[in-house]
């Protein structure tokens, strides 16, 4: 399967300014400026209709939110960066969602926790430049030195003469001021920030709580028809025949047809479309649909068969991916050697808004309204699918009812476009929950066969992991999200280290899911570290701090640089928050884990009880994260709270299993999400180190599953080596 490609960067940053029709200041820039080492590629376009900041003479300030909003809060937090440097009250500006236009806005995607790190500096520059031009306009008006003018709340003040001019009054004049050179930009001292680091409510909250049409599934255009799409239950299968004649006679049905498709589940796949006058008419007609499929060979493709294959491979050696020191000598010299087999299942993104898309193909062009995390990739896919140039594909970016990585892939967008092209009318495609759960690009399953040692001093002296992963059929590389970096901790922290890898050929399409790789790897690594701590008779926190070792920076290699002091900082702080080491009654325990992903350092402690009948109750979760300075404190805390609930949800009972190549689960009755009564108390603290701010949509998720499983061990002595927890008998006496 193809890994989704994020939009490439092809333009360098520059600031530009133009006068709005009717007067006013419009300032924009291309992102990924020279600080990222980009070279000037394209000539400067002097007048651009899109920009991040728009100030009209009536005083209206509009800030543009450039990236898709999927609940990670960027529609609020990115404009906050502009507002801070510009010097306006966030409560007095309007915020607009940008349409897809990467020439004007730079890369526009919601993925990899990149929105904050990629945009912080460029948006600061845009805000600062605009403020400086407004100040220059005021200084010119009053004929006073620029240095004597100050900005606050959208007003420039000359204190000495007690004169003021609002941004609106200055807008037309500011538009004629030369754009400051990037090197001449003066930024606010972060100590004087009034907005960044505070709690600001989501910009769409008033619309959300009153039910306004914000989401992809809410979109509508005149003459729109409604479609469903039946895909082969086995990925890569093809339609042989279908009872289309019967379907076309059903009430409300306008058309039904077979669409040829490819094998790649990230694009248009083979299936049957039913187009009707209403969603319900389409859903109802589909109940009568009978399709004969060419599914290919499926008998070997079941979860049980994959488990058996993993176990068989686990007994053999795998391909060597990393080898440090002398592992055999370390095992021989060890005080204790333990072995353990871990595994985790496929899981689904299960966005609450099912996949959907409105497409309108007309005269060789197409307009798309879509809840997509990657509008640029979607544009390319639609162009390729329909055989039209990219320039003929307009993408409107709607609010997204949950992303989690599912909407990095735009397969459903290709379907809507193909169906609209065929019927010659605007079509809204709506997936059912069953479609969504059964045609996901899943978080990859994996198996780890560990052997580890502690030496006489109680240190982890050897670590061997035979990682059995999954691939798409016979493709030599692991599936999307199924890889393991040879640098993944504890590599580089244990002197004698061996990583081997084997692969199972599957028919399961996979893709990135919130904190890809990390969301599963943290579980196995941090759990086995815990096992070694107990084997050594060591405190799990103390052993982790020792493992991280001296304060140092491991240089960026296959991932970003790793600063041990930052990780030890969050570990130490979270232990303090949780009262680590408190005496708890039998059946109640604390577990700790840490993980580095998306440049974020996060440690968590879970306190849970396990009743004698095996029932788990999670009481508290404490989290400490170092992602540099916080932009929107409310949004940041929300991402941590949500990641913790997400980690509990997936650990407790979620798995997608396969029989004869098809998904067994169908809806939330057999793919459960955590419910409100089971939500624990959550306490969040940030260490706001003086590093560049990084993203928080993902890194708070990975430590949760191992912290939970380590707490369960502390509570009842049962080691969880397989997720979800429903697979482990936790009863004790």
């Amino acid at each position: 399967m193809n890994t989704p490609t994020l939009p490439s960067l092809d333009r360098r940053s520059f600031l530009r300014v133009s006068v709005l029709a009717g007067g006013g200041l419009l300032l924009g820039l291309n992102l990924r400026s020279s600080v990222y080492g980009e070279k000037n590629a394209d000539p400067v376009t002097p007048f651009v209709p899109n920009a991040y900041i728009r100030i009209t003479p009536d005083g209206k300030v509009t800030l543009v939110a450039k990236n898709p909003e999927c609940g990670q809060g960027v529609k609020t937090s990115l404009p906050m960066i502009l507002a801070e440097e510009l010097g306006v009250n966030i409560s007095s500006v309007s915020i607009e969602q940008a349409p897809l236009d990467e020439k004007a806005f730079g890369p526009q995607f919601a993925g990899g926790s990149r929105s904050t790190p990629d945009n912080f500096e460029p948006l600061r520059r845009a805000g600062a430049a605009a403020r400086m031009m407004l100040i220059a306009a005021a200084a010119q008006t009053w004929n006073v030195p620029i240095a004597e003018c100050e900005v606050a709340a959208g007003v420039v003040t000359h204190a000495e003469s007690k004169r003021t001019l609002s941004f609106g009054e200055l807008a037309s004049k500011a538009a004629l001021i030369p754009v400051p050179d990037e090197k001449a930009l003066v930024f606010k001292n972060p100590k004087q920030y009034q907005l960044l680091g505070t709690r600001v409510g989501g910009v769409d909250n008033p619309a959300i709580v009153t039910g306004k049409p914000l989401f992809g599934i809410d979109q509508k255009v005149a003459g729109m028809l409604h479609a469903v799409y039946e895909r082969c239950p086995v990925t890569g299968g093809k339609v042989k025949s279908a009872n289309l004649d019967r379907i076309k006679t059903l009430p409300g049905v306008r058309d039904a047809f077979v669409i040829e498709g490819g094998e790649d589940a990230t694009g248009l796949v083979s299936g049957v479309a039913i187009v009707a006058e209403s969603t319900w008419a389409a859903f109802s007609a589909r109940k009568q649909l009978q399709v004969s499929w060419d599914e290919g060979e499926t008998s070997a493709h079941s979860s049980a068969a994959y488990d058996a294959k993993a176990e068989e491979l686990g007994k053999k050696g795998g391909k060597e991916m990393r080898k440090d020191g002398d592992i055999e000598a370390a095992f021989t010299a060890a005080k204790k050697v333990i072995e353990a087999a871990y595994s985790y299942p496929y899981i689904s993104h299960a966005t609450l808004e099912p996949q959907n898309c409105l497409a309108s193909v007309k005269d060789g062009a197409v307009e798309i309204w879509a809840p997509t995390q990657t509008p640029g990739s979607g544009q390319g896919l639609v162009a390729k699918t329909l055989g039209i140039p990219k320039e003929k594909v307009v993408i409107h970016v709607t609010r997204i009812g949950g992303g989690f990585g599912r909407r990095l892939m735009n397969d459903w967008m290709a379907e809507a476009a193909a169906i609209s092209q065929r019927v010659g009318a605007p079509v809204k495609l709506t997936w059912t929950r069953e479609d969504d759960l059964r045609h996901d690009l899943y978080r990859a399953a994996g198996w780890h066969f560990f052997k580890g040692a502690v030496d006489a001093a109680g240190r982890i002296s050897a670590w061997k992991d035979h990682f059995v992963t999954v691939g798409w059929k016979e493709t030599p590389q692991p599936s999307s999200g199924a890889g393991l970096s040879p640098d993944e901790l504890p590599a580089r922290f244990v002197p004698n280290f061996l990583l081997e890898q084997s692969q199972i050929a599957t028919v399961v399409p996979t893709g990135p899911l919130r904190a890809p790789g990390s969301n599963a790897l943290s579980f196995v690594m941090q759990s086995f570290i815990d096992e070694l701590a107990h084997a050594a008779g060591r405190d799990p926190l103390e052993l982790r701090l020792e493992l991280l070792g001296d304060d140092r920076k491991l240089p960026a290699a296959r991932g970003p640089a790793y600063e041990t002091a930052r990780m030890k900082g969050v570990l130490t702080r979270v232990a303090k928050m949780a009262g680590w080491g408190r005496k708890l009654e039998k059946g109640r325990g604390q577990g700790i884990a840490f993980h580095f992903s998306h440049s974020g350092y996060v440690a968590e402690v879970v306190e849970a009880s396990v009743a004698k009948d095996g029932t788990i109750k999670v009481h508290d979760v404490w989290c400490c994260a170092d992602v540099g300075p916080i932009i929107n404190r409310s949004g940041a805390e929300a991402q941590v709270e949500g990641s913790i609930i997400d980690g509990l949800s997936s650990s407790l009972a979620q798995e997608v299993t396969f029989e004869r190549g098809r998904v067994v689960q169908s809806n939330f009755n057999d793919y459960p999400l955590l419910r409100l009564p089971d939500a624990p108390r959550v306490t969040v603290e940030f260490i706001e180190s003086a590093n560049p701010p990084t993203g928080l949509g993902e890194p708070a998720l990975p430590p949760l599953p191992p912290a939970l499983c380590n707490a369960i061990f502390a509570a009842c002595g049962k080691r969880v080596r397989t997720l979800p927890l429903t697979k482990t008998d936790l009863r004790w006496t």
Partner: protein, 182 residues
Amino acid sequence: MPKYDLKINGQTRPVETAAETPLLWVLRDQLDLVGTKFGCGVSQCGACTVHLNGAAVRSCITRVSAATTAAITTIEGLSPDGSHPLQRMWIKHDVPQCGYCQAGQIMTAAALLARNNHPSDAEIDDALAANLCRCGTYLRIRRAVQEAAALMRGEKVSETGVAATAGLAAVTCGHSYEEVGA
């Protein structure tokens, strides 16, 4: 096809549709009341929750023919101007992440508070146990419901939580839906 006069958000809305059509799809496809969301179709997630005569029901499994005599309230009709205590406290506590489940959460909580404005924590948990939130906003939902209940009891509750942004952002795609509802 049968014709019905539905009483929705204080208005009479004529519709013509098959009797077995779920109320959800009548609201969304025919009446442009899209605040009520489709999440699972089988009464598992609560995103489609509306009120029939004040009681919270799942519109995805409620046939339109079963809703013809009841007063139907959707999120659009919960208050004329978004000022229901739950809506205010949802904003104060910055509850939504993606926001997709929130109309259903609010409608379920509103039905609870209408019959019990002094719910215990356990009663809040029970009432909202069947409304799923994929983003995990449960902790803030609890706080918002508790404080909305206090507001409804006439207690003074601070409304300063998060700083508000400029108010309603432009509807994403600029499609104008007719203003309907109370």
